[in-house]
Symmetry: C2
Subunit: 193 residues, 2 copies
Amino acid sequence: MERIQKQMDFLFEIDKMKDVFRQSLVVKGKREENDAEHSWHMALVALTIKEYFKAEMNLEKALKMILIHDLVEIYAGDTPAFGQERPNKKSEEIKAAKRIFSLLPADQEKHFLNLWLEFEECESNEARFANVCDRYQGFMQNLTSDGHTWKKFNVSMEKVLKRAEPIKKYTPELYEKYMLPEFLKYKERGIIK
Amino acid sequence: MERIQKQMDFLFEIDKMKDVFRQSLVVKGKREENDAEHSWHMALVALTIKEYFKAEMNLEKALKMILIHDLVEIYAGDTPAFGQERPNKKSEEIKAAKRIFSLLPADQEKHFLNLWLEFEECESNEARFANVCDRYQGFMQNLTSDGHTWKKFNVSMEKVLKRAEPIKKYTPELYEKYMLPEFLKYKERGIIK
């Protein structure tokens, strides 16, 4: 019973993801997106664009990473992609990861913590793909909100291109055919500086 | 490019899941839960309670079903678990499934539609497990809202037990050790009638 109770404590705690808000707008600019919605949409991005990632990859593992990657924000908060850098972000997120996964039985704690660390390191193929999906989902929410976060943070093309680097590197067809042309349109309109 | 555009049209359309609301309350009763949040939380339920489902099962496939199972509600709306029965629910949802997946390239349309139909039929092990997770997530949201949907629909123990049948059948340890004792507590308090 103690094992089940720990699993339930974890599943109850992560309900808080529905109350961690990001900068992206959803539903035609109606309101900000929360981390639960972002993680779900990002998983759907993964299922839909997988073909553009050419390296061998275990989709189940990538989906797990996607589903848990933002749990740390329950305690560490969201760090906007184009906002001010937070010098303590990494240490705060590691602390948060240890805290959230410690609710689980030891074997699951270890499994989830390792998956989260692997996502952060972005060196395995699964972690690279999950990072592509993370950034691509943020990009998409900009397209459906007339460049909301680009406008809000007065973002330069240099910063936009930097943020898109994993997409250019790991899913180049998607980048060349769809993403870069959109960047250029928003630059032309003066929304990307 | 036409292929990518279709995939993008699908990924933009499903943003609407964040605006389809269920009866369950989230974040300590703050507001109703939407389908994107529900699908994400249900995927986390799957990752956490998988060990109680003893039959052989492909987790990647089950996760896919979980992630897409409620997309039909963008057009067909949510049907509350304990609300009035909707006689046309099945036909409306099939129509909605065809509509949403038709946005995708033909191979993906077929793949997602088949997964959705398999979930609905609830006969494969993956579909059974996904259905367990669906009902279990709804149960959990009742525990964090003092039985909100049980109260709202004045639900009898008979209905609660009927709804829990897949959990009893396919994850019996979870049912016996955790779920049934909770039902009995809520019955004792007069919240389940």
